[in-house]
């Protein structure tokens, strides 16, 4: 249907509005009527001629006959009361105008992180994921015509293993939060224990997701307090017992601090529980990978690698385990094999774990994952490569450290100071909103209001400084906050 059709719907706009004329030219009116009935739309190729032929082949005379099995009582009559269709150009204009009501990170200088980061995304990423052979495909169930997707995912799995130091990675999860919740549930299933310990330095929204999944499986979740911004080891020891399935920590943690995984690992494994680590994979460019520090599961979000912030999604969960947990992994795995001629190829494998085979006994209910974003992350990891990932991670540490010093010079307190990645906490001299509004006036988007998740940290800000922030931007930010 076109805009013109819509005008036809209004009787006043009918070209043949003369009553007398209409009543004497019924045939002509019927043509109009038929055009009205037959919607033309650029996505709908069926012509009136096609429809006539197809209905005849089916053996019916009207479309309605095909819906005669819908009971009269539940049949929807009329049309949805939703907005009328718009032409391509008009809709693009309307939605561009709507988008312009948002303050975006291209225009504004952002110091906001808290799990979602404004990073350098190599431009090539968008060119690759815009190839419609990738984005218009479904799950690669037919490997002979899906080798491209399968190989790309195999490469993704390999890169995640490299960064995390783990043996096996799956093809992706929805996001970091649900990946972590699935990790928690894996530990429950594997250890047959019904209790989880989660550090309060894990992303608060991930903790909420873990709580929701735990409720489903009737699992108890106990939170481990933090001291000076890192997991309190003594509290962990006190809470640890032989009924704990898994201990969940974040590295670097929500406050940007580096958790002492070595010490945590000893406590966790002493009770044969599983160590589950949520990691920003970019940070692993410079940090010792959790796999080297005894993690059983590493899960997180690959958003820092070439994936747009997009108001919080879609991002890209990743999930990596040690070899012994291979058959407990949720979601899809791509494996290497050979064809009848001995040529290397890739297939979805170990599918007996999955819902479409095992149904209620599956390791998870996940079906759709984040394949296209896993591709985006792969391209970004490839573009950055061995040196670039390290260099970019290094720039984050250096620039965040510089920002800390710049703020301190202006008399701002760094709370929980210590080894950190690209985020840190400051105590604001003024109420959060006042600070944030003032920054916005100067073209800056301030950090996170920690008070919303930690009441004791009201008027504290979690500041993120990525490689994209220039010296000038950091200096301006420090000056503005310092002068409040």
């Amino acid at each position: 249907m076109t805009m013109t059709n819509l005008t036809w719907r209004n009787p006043n706009n009918l070209l043949c509005s003369n009553k007398k004329w209409r009543s004497t030219h019924i045939d002509y009116n019927m043509i109009w009527f038929n055009i009205l009935l037959h919607m033309k739309h650029r996505y709908l190729p069926m012509t009136e001629q096609d429809k006539t032929e197809m209905l005849a082949a089916i053996g019916v005379t009207t479309v309605d006959e095909l819906f005669s099995d819908i009971p009269e009582k539940v049949r929807f009559k009329g049309e949805y009361k939703i907005k009328p269709a718009k032409s391509e150009s008009a809709l693009l204009k309307e939605l561009s105008t709507l988008a312009a009501k948002n303050a975006d990170l291209i225009q504004y200088t952002s110091f906001l992180g808290a799990g979602v980061y404004d990073h350098y995304a190599p431009i090539i990423v968008d060119h690759v994921i815009s190839r419609s052979e990738f984005y218009t495909a479904y799950t690669p169930y037919q490997p002979e015509i899906s080798q491209g997707e399968l190989q790309a995912i195999f490469e993704f799995q390999s890169m995640i293993c490299e960064l995390t130091g783990m043996d096996v990675a799956n093809s992706s999860m929805y996001d970091g939060g649900t990946a972590l919740a699935e990790a928690a549930m894996l530990s429950v299933g594997h250890t047959r224990r019904q209790k989880l310990l989660v550090s309060t330095t894990v992303h608060p929204e991930s903790r909420e997701v873990i709580a929701a999944y735990a409720l489903g499986r009737n699992v108890e979740v106990v939170e481990i307090p933090h001291t000076n911004g890192t997991t309190d080891l003594d509290e962990l020891k006190n809470l640890m017992s032989e009924d704990v399935a898994g201990v969940i920590v974040q590295y670097p943690n929500f406050f940007g601090r580096i958790e002492l995984l070595k010490e945590i690992e000893q406590v966790v494994h002493e009770q044969k529980a599983m160590m589950i680590v949520s990691s920003n994979p970019l940070a692993l460019g410079v940090l010792t990978p959790p796999g080297k520090l005894g993690a059983d599961i590493v899960a997180g979000d690959a958003q820092p690698f070439g994936i747009a912030t997009a108001f919080g999604g879609p991002h890209c969960g990743y999930f990596a385990v040690t070899n012994k947990l291979l058959r407990k992994v949720p979601g899809r795995l791509v494996g290497q094999t050979v064809d009848e001629n001995g040529k290397r190829g890739f297939v979805l494998t170990l599918q007996a774990r999955e819902q479409h085979i095992r149904r209620d006994k599956a390791t998870s209910n996940i079906c759709s994952n984040q394949a296209l974003n896993a591709l985006a992350a792969s391209v970004a990891m490839t573009a950055l490569g061995k040196n670039g990932v390290k260099e970019m991670a290094m720039q984050n540490i250096q620039k965040a450290h510089y920002a800390k010093k710049a703020l301190q010079k202006k008399g701002i307190d760094i709370v929980f100071d210590g080894a950190s990645f690209n985020e840190f906490v400051i105590k604001l001299p003024v109420p959060f909103k006042q600070c944030n509004d003032a920054l916005f006036e100067k073209g800056m988007i301030g950090g996170l209001d920690l008070g919303r998740f930690y009441p004791e940290l009201t008027d504290h800000m979690l500041v993120a400084v990525t490689e994209l922030r220039t010296k000038e931007e950091i200096d301006t930010f420090a000056a503005e906050v310092g002068e409040m």
Partner: protein, 486 residues
């Protein structure tokens, strides 16, 4: 790797090459040992590829040529609604004001995004006939679990702790029973009758005061409308259970029947199916969930609300099941779905379903002379054929699927639903032309004839793909799931 293999990106890596352009560091760098404890400084670099930008583009272009998408050719994969993915959706989702905004920005700076979400909620409420919608779930299965958690919360709020069972038809998607398990329920299967519909007598047999819910797709996975839906709803509701609608097949009933009017209490939608996501090679999707009034209080938080023209995230929901996903859902996919709905309008969406159903019935009728049609009645947006006639001649459904690859088609969904022997589930969608359908039908007829005259050509298919049938047993027996430098 032999010299015919497509190289892995790791295999074309050469030390010293780079493919990036990082910002200038500008500041004086401090030794890492002063910033991090020694034990936490990475010693060995991750073995990521070292390649130039052109290397990357050639590599992924080569991979893309080894991949079949809807834009490459017909993709009648039943239950997946592989319709055309409109290009305007991609443009809109990439506008800076949608692509580059942060979930923790002040609400005043994201009114456009919240407004879009609110309006999408409103559109989905009208389309489903429900009373409220959450956009938080990331995909269909995630929506199923979210919906079941709400049903669980509802029963528990009534003190109905004994409602531990979820009834699922034998033809249901595998995610249904899997989601029931994740939500803490036990699955009970209800049989289909000789017409391919839920057996009402069996339903009455399995229902009871331990029933939490019945999960149903309508039309079901055979593409048949459950015409006794009102009676089924009554059976479940009288027993105190709730009715759950799996929206995977919504493309069949747009403007024809709304889940809310059929008696469903909870519904999830697959925006990447019905509302042109796209599928992205397996995701990301988006699985909003709609509920009736009495379940609104259990929705995940936050939901987007409006007050005096201002949009805000409503967290004040004390009975909410909590959060099922960080932030607010797969916003980028929701933007695409919204763009699609606004491109179609009410009469467009009606035409979508009518054309999808005509296409499916046309194919079904033309193919029924060559393949067994287990349930001979009008289908909705998809239909299921059985390859049992061909199986007797030594050609399995898998062979037929592989032979279709030689014609440039993605095969139908095979061996599903489970209640049809040698099943082939075909969903053409409304965006395919009659010429495309006719050509596919001709290929299917040719394969049926080959099965009689020259079965080897089918059994040994595919003949034209970049790779032949792969050894899946080897892949599972000796898993190689990553590249490792020798």
């Amino acid at each position: 790797m032999n010299n015919q293999d497509q190289a892995l990106i790791f295999e074309i890596s050469t030390p010293g090459r780079i493919g990036y352009s990082l910002p200038e560091i500008e500041i004086e760098e401090i030794a890492l040992t002063e910033l991090l404890p020694d034990d936490y400084i990475r010693e060995e670099a991750a073995e990521l590829p070292e390649v130039s930008e052109l290397d990357i583009m050639r590599h992924y272009t080569a991979l893309s040529k080894r991949n079949h998408g809807v834009d490459s050719g017909f993709y009648p994969l039943g239950s997946c609604t592989m319709k055309y993915n409109p290009k305007i959706n991609e443009n809109v989702a990439r506008i800076n004001g949608f692509a580059h905004i942060h979930p923790y920005q002040d609400e005043n700076t994201v009114q456009g995004a919240l407004g879009l979400m609110y309006d999408l909620q409103e559109h989905l409420i009208e389309i489903t006939g429900m009373d409220q919608v959450t956009l938080q779930p990331a995909a269909g299965a995630h929506g199923e679990w979210t919906g079941l958690m709400m049903i669980r919360a509802y029963h528990e709020s009534n003190g109905d702790m004994q409602r531990t069972k979820v009834i699922v038809p034998d033809s249901a998607h595998g995610t249904n029973p899997a989601s029931a398990t994740v939500a803490g329920f036990e699955t009970v299967t209800v049989k289909s009758n000789e017409h391919g519909l839920v057996d009402i007598d069996d339903l009455k047999r399995v229902v009871g005061d331990d029933t939490a819910a019945l999960m149903l797709t309508n039309p079901n996975t055979l593409g048949l409308f459950e015409e006794n839906i009102l009676e089924m709803a009554e059976v479940i509701h009288q027993a105190g259970g709730k009715l759950y609608y799996d929206g995977a097949n919504l493309n069949a009933v747009l403007s024809k029947a709304r889940p809310g009017d059929m008696g469903f209490d909870v519904v999830h939608l697959n925006l990447h199916k019905t509302f042109t996501g796209p599928h992205g090679g397996g995701g990301p999707g988006s699985g909003p969930v709609g509920v009736k009034n009495e379940l609104i209080r259990f929705l995940p938080k936050p939901i987007v609300s409006e007050k005096e023209g201002r949009y805000f995230l409503d967290y004040d929901r004390p009975e909410s099941i909590g959060r099922v996903k960080p932030y607010y859902g797969n916003f980028g996919i929701n933007v695409r779905a919204y763009t699609y709905i606004r491109s179609m309008g009410p009469d467009g969406l009606k035409a979508v379903t009518e054309n999808a159903v005509i296409n499916a019935n046309y194919m079904m009728r033309r193919l029924s002379a060559y393949y067994d049609l287990p349930y001979d009645r009008h289908c909705k947006h998809e239909f299921v054929l059985s390859g049992r006639r061909q199986k007797k001649l030594g050609v399995r459904t898998l062979d037929i699927a592989k032979r279709l690859l030689d014609f440039g088609y993605h095969p139908p969904t095979i061996y599903f639903p489970l209640n049809v022997e040698e099943a082939m589930m075909i969903e053409p969608t409304e965006t395919e032309s009659k010429e495309t359908l006719d050509a596919f039908i001709d290929a299917m007829i040719q394969i049926a004839k080959e099965t009689e005259d020259n079965p080897e050509i089918v059994q040994e298919a595919p003949h034209t793909t970049v790779i032949k049938r792969l050894d899946e047993t080897l892949a599972a027996r000796k898993p190689v799931l990553r590249f490792q430098k020798q």
